[in-house]
């Protein structure tokens, strides 16, 4: 039965790779946290959310890397041809899952951070028609959902 012999270098590189994955996962998490602080969330809560996102992403990434790089010979030996085909499909799907997860985090973070449209909505009455004429530039005045005037 084939087994990996203990190796100081391999184990050290594995540990370092885990730390690198943590670091790389912290970049999108930090961006998301910064966008949340821009949105108005407190720094402390944003750090907590960012750390949770970083931990989740690093777990996903570590699972992918472990499957890609650290396949034990014992597992390969006992894998049938049919199972290896299924495993190939699984490995091919991993990047899409990863990209989907990262995209989801970005979409949620960007959606949370998008500024509210600065539009004044006022319901103008027929006798207030003259008021809307004095609105400043780029100030859109809506009446019953329709643009009345653009100055």
């Amino acid at each position: 039965m084939a087994r990996h012999m203990p190796s100081w270098l391999r184990d050290t590189l594995r540990v370092w790779l885990q730390y690198w994955i943590i670091g790389l996962s912290s970049i999108p998490a930090g961006i998301a946290g910064f966008l949340l602080t821009q949105r108005g969330m407190t720094q402390r809560n944003a750090v907590i959310v960012s750390l949770l996102i970083a931990a989740s992403l690093s777990l996903i990434l570590w699972g992918v890397v472990r499957k890609k790089l650290f396949v034990s010979p014992q597992k390969v030996k006992h894998t049938t041809q049919e199972n290896s085909a299924a495993a190939d499909i699984q490995i091919q799907l991993q990047p899409f899952r990863l990209a989907g997860g990262i995209s989801y985090v970005f979409v949620v973070a960007l959606g949370a951070s998008s500024p509210c449209p600065n539009v004044k909505v006022s319901i103008s009455q027929p006798n207030e028609q003259t008021k809307t004429q004095t609105a400043p530039a780029y100030d859109y005045v809506y009446a019953y959902g329709n643009v009345v005037s653009e100055v």
């Binding site: 012999m5 203990p6 190796s7 100081w8 184990d11 050290t12 540990v15 370092w16 885990q18 730390y19 690198w20 943590i22 670091g23 996962s25 912290s26 970049i27 998490a29 930090g30 961006i31 946290g33 910064f34 602080t37 821009q38 944003a46 750090v47 960012s50 750390l51 970083a54 931990a55 690093s58």
Partner: protein, 94 residues
């Protein structure tokens, strides 16, 4: 094997491995952020870079603490249990 032997033989290797691992992410990120900060004026991008640096540092330290706790706990558990298959030498770090 006494507990002193476990801790003398294996512990420094584990601590060294994890501490260097944490430094390999914290130092490059900090240095990169510092270098980028030299060329940028105060603004949102610089604030974002500083925030990312902070997250990387905190994540590295938290992961280091958790990893060391895990390694200590595993070592202690195996020491108390007597090692794998009854042999205390089974888990000695290469």
């Amino acid at each position: 094997m006494q507990w002193r032997e476990y801790f003398n033989v294996d512990l420094w290797k584990i601590v060294w491995r994890h501490c260097t691992g944490a430094l390999t992410i914290v130092i490059p990120f900090r240095v990169t952020g510092w270098v980028i900060g030299l060329f940028l004026e105060q603004g949102d991008i610089l604030n974002a870079i500083e925030f990312i640096d902070k997250i990387v540092t905190i994540a590295g330290v938290v992961y280091l603490a958790l990893a060391l706790l895990w390694e200590f706990g595993t070592l202690f558990y195996r020491m108390v249990k007597g090692g794998q298959n009854g042999s205390p030498h089974a888990f000695v770090v290469a």
